[in-house]
């Protein structure tokens, strides 16, 4: 059987078509705009006497009368006294509608940081609004967490085990090895 010029040309055409069809489909797909009409992830406009709140994705938005950010328990008590519906807010990365309120949203961010720690029992008290990385960083400083390296990223880990308490004193790369060696 001999290969004719015609067969080669037809074969090439077939191959080119096989590559071009998914290529064109991919290009058409990636040029599409999948954003719904009127979508705006930013803060919604708030009428007079109200403030705007939005979660990270913009799916949940509301305009409560006030977003209280108390720094002390007294301020918190004052803020919620007489309030109709109080909703607490964390970091705004959830997708469910737990935060939106027409009345009062309370943000506990200012109750942050390590309040007390006991290295002997491994029991610590931290503010209710402390975000996990701040908690890990401050616990690391108190000798109750370990820093390890993963690829190029340094992370603080909450793990008050005796191995890791020892490990916090050593450098990041050694800490990784020690964590592996100790099986934690």
């Amino acid at each position: 059987m001999s290969t004719t010029r015609r067969a080669i040309l037809l074969g090439s055409a077939g191959l080119a078509t096989a590559v071009a069809i998914p290529g064109v489909q991919y290009a058409a797909w990636s040029m599409k705009d999948f954003t719904r009409d009127g979508y705006n992830p930013g803060l919604p406009p708030a009428p007079d006497g109200e403030v705007a709140w939005s979660n990270w994705s913009g799916i949940q938005q509301s305009t409560p009368k006030q977003i209280a950010v108390p720094a002390t328990e007294d301020e918190l008590a004052t803020a919620i006294t007489g309030a109709q519906r109080v909703r607490p807010v964390g970091s705004g990365h959830s997708f469910t509608g737990l935060v939106p309120s027409e009345h009062l949203i309370v943000d506990a961010s200012r109750f942050s940081g390590l309040v007390s720690s006991d290295a002997a029992t491994g029991i610590v008290t931290i503010g209710a609004g402390t975000r996990i990385r701040q908690a890990a960083r401050e616990l690391d400083a108190a000798g109750l967490a370990c820093r390890i390296c993963r690829t190029s990223m340094c992370r603080h880990w909450l793990a008050p085990s005796p191995h890791q308490r020892t490990a916090r004193a050593v450098r990041c790369s050694r800490c990784t090895r020690m964590s592996k060696a100790s099986g934690s």
Binding site: A13, V24, A27, R133, M153
Partner: protein, 127 residues
């Protein structure tokens, strides 16, 4: 005719496959080891600002690999500030950007606080 048809098909397939990915945001400037370790330790000198930075900004702007420009790594901040200006970056804090929610975890911050924090984070860190 067959040759022309083949040529056109090949051209179409090549151009479809070589489409560059859509650009979004400024180019990522990868920090070196010095900036990565600097970012972990830098804190604003002002205690009020330092408290806000600790609870709201530090979780992302002090850790490499999360997409946020690092504190003290001016090379990563300059393209953003040149593209949007300080007020544009402030607007990004208001509306949220990337993983940062609107108001950057600090609903009680004033625009002055945000400007001071942006200035602190975009200033080249000194070891």
């Amino acid at each position: 005719v067959v040759r022309k048809f083949c040529g056109l098909l090949l051209l179409a397939s090549i151009s479809a496959c070589s489409q560059p990915p859509a650009e979004s945001g400024p180019a990522i400037v990868v920090p070196d080891a010095v900036h990565v370790s600097l970012a972990e330790t830098l804190v604003p000198a002002d205690p009020t600002l330092a408290a806000i930075y600790d609870r709201s900004c530090r979780a992302c702007h002090a850790l490499d690999g999360l997409g946020a420009p690092l504190s003290g790594h001016t090379a990563a901040w300059t393209p953003r500030l040149e593209e949007r200006g300080l007020e544009g970056v402030l607007a990004s804090v208001h509306t949220g950007r990337g993983a940062m929610p609107p108001m950057g975890y600090c609903p009680d911050c004033t625009d002055e606080d945000f400007r001071a924090l942006i200035e602190f984070m975009s200033t080249e860190g000194q070891p």
